[in-house]
């Protein structure tokens, strides 16, 4: 792997993210209504943005896999890595949201449309990843999981627009025009830092997935999956 991507991307990403969080947590003014509690936005919002981005990447890869003409495992591996990274970021986003919800709304969890649709999204992609573990044939796994990814992705626009359609507890996305520039800057810097980190994670996970696929295809028993003989437990002949 290119050294620049292997080391440069995560280091720069961490640096930018640290700068963004410092700006958000120390430099930006506190919110007039919520005070310092609002500062979790600089962590929570970029996490959710990147989660949505990764899920969208998963959808695009699923469609491309079904339409592709050349054989290969790159699209499927990208789809797998995007779903895993997206699930991680989305879960972290949900936890930070709950931490913010307790002092602001008085509860960790409310059955608000945004929260509910987000929870559905996370369970859907958990199902997607579980399906991948339960299908041995790499060809079938790629096709079936692509179908499941497309069916699950129908929920993504619902998650995104839920705050506008239903206007319930969760606030609507703010526009940079109406927000103090001192709050817009940290949010943007954090988002860019997290974007770089997300790309780094995707690249790392993608390489693992691709290597796994190639090993599976080349040598079906190479991976310690169910059904493969366990070489460490073979009875010794005396």
């Amino acid at each position: 792997m290119n050294k620049l991507i292997k080391w440069g991307l995560p280091v720069v990403g961490l640096g930018v993210l640290a700068a963004g969080w410092w700006l958000g947590l120390a430099w930006a003014p506190p919110d007039r209504e919520m005070g310092d509690v609002q500062r979790i936005m600089y962590v929570h919002v970029p996490l959710q943005w990147m989660a949505m981005l990764a899920m969208f990447l998963n959808f695009v890869m699923a469609v491309s896999h079904l339409l592709k003409s050349k054989p290969g495992w790159k699209l499927d591996s990208t789809a797998e890595s995007a779903a895993e990274v997206g699930l991680l970021l989305g879960a972290l986003g949900m936890v930070t949201g709950a931490i913010w919800g307790r002092p602001t709304w008085g509860v960790y969890w409310s059955w608000d449309p945004r929260l509910t649709s987000e929870a559905i999204m996370l369970v859907t992609y958990t199902g997607y990843l579980v399906l991948r573990r339960f299908v041995e044939d790499p060809d079938k796994r790629a096709t079936w999981s692509a179908v499941v990814a497309i069916l699950g992705a129908i929920n993504l626009p619902i998650v995104w627009f839920s705050v506008r359609w239903w206007r319930s507890l969760h606030q609507v996305q703010s526009s940079p025009k109406t927000v103090d520039p001192q709050m817009v800057l940290p949010l943007r810097v954090s988002a860019i830092g997290l974007l770089l980190l997300t790309i780094a994670m995707l690249v790392y996970r993608y390489r693992i997935a691709l290597a796994e696929r190639q090993a599976e295809v080349a040598l079906p028993d190479a991976l310690p999956a169910a059904g493969a003989p366990d070489v460490h437990n073979t009875p010794k002949v005396a």
């Binding site: 079904l66 509910t116 559905i120 369970v123 859907t124 958990t126 199902g127 997607y128 579980v130 399906l131 339960f134 299908v135 041995e136 079938k140 096709t143 079936w144 692509a146 179908v147 499941v148 497309i150 069916l151 699950g152 129908i154 929920n155 619902i158 169910a226």
Partner: protein, 237 residues
């Protein structure tokens, strides 16, 4: 005496013809054994009964939530019905035979999804009197409204359910996989069907029934369309 000069040529059969032929085959299998319908009816009735045991004999609470329990019972039963609908094809490699017939994979999807929906509608019709008796509900609004909720809700469960049943019937741990994939996806359908049923049962002073039925209809259009397009990729070999 006139002898036929050549064997009769097979008639070309279109998508609708193939769908109806396959549906007829599935319904005939179902009718001859009636195993699937019997099983899911008793399963769903037991579920309805369990709700009243789990919550205690509070008739008012049961009546208030009757719509939700009704649809949960149908949802749980649908997992059994959907799984079974592809299990009959996996015996003796029947799916290969159907594909070689040759049947358009989209016709297989339509027939399976329609068959599952018909089964769920029949289940709902049989469950309604049980629900009325157990939970003490009374139908305030018309039978037509209740019927359209039942039809749209059953169609909404079976459209994505058939796609997932086809996938999970070939995977390991299929009994875990189908509900895991299906339940999160059908939450909007379950929500609107339960809400609409409650409105039908308890009256609709705010006139909200139309919007919930609209949501169900939209869900149906999306998932029947996507399932129709994607299904051929699932069963190709």
């Amino acid at each position: 005496m006139k002898l036929p000069t050549s064997p009769p040529r097979p008639r070309p059969i279109g998508l609708i013809g193939a769908t109806l032929a396959l549906l007829r085959k599935d319904l005939l299998i179902e009718w001859r054994t009636r195993a699937r319908l019997n099983a899911i009816v008793f399963f769903a009735m037991a579920t309805l009964l369990m709700f009243s045991f789990a919550l205690g004999p509070d008739t008012r609470l049961l009546e208030k939530n009757a719509g939700g329990y009704f649809w949960l019972a149908i949802l749980f039963a649908s997992v059994l019905a959907l799984g079974e609908s592809f299990r009959v094809e996996s015996e003796n490699a029947c799916m290969d035979g159907v594909r070689l017939a040759p049947a358009d994979p989209r016709a297989i999807y339509l027939s399976k999804a329609l068959g599952n929906a018909l089964l769920l509608i029949a289940l709902g019709l049989l469950l309604l009197p049980v629900m009325v008796a157990l939970y003490g509900v009374q139908v305030v609004m018309g039978v037509v409204d209740l019927g359209s909720v039942l039809v749209l809700g059953s169609l909404a469960l079976s459209a994505p359910g058939t796609v997932y049943a086809a996938i999970s019937s070939n995977a390991r741990a299929r009994d875990v996989l189908l509900p895991l994939l299906l339940f999160p996806l059908v939450i909007p359908a379950l929500l609107s069907a339960a809400k609409a049923t409650t409105l039908v049962l308890q009256g609709d002073p705010m006139n909200q029934l139309g919007s919930w039925l609209g949501l169900l209809l939209g869900f149906n259009l999306i998932y029947w369309g996507v399932g129709f397009m994607l299904f051929p990729r699932i069963i190709e070999d």
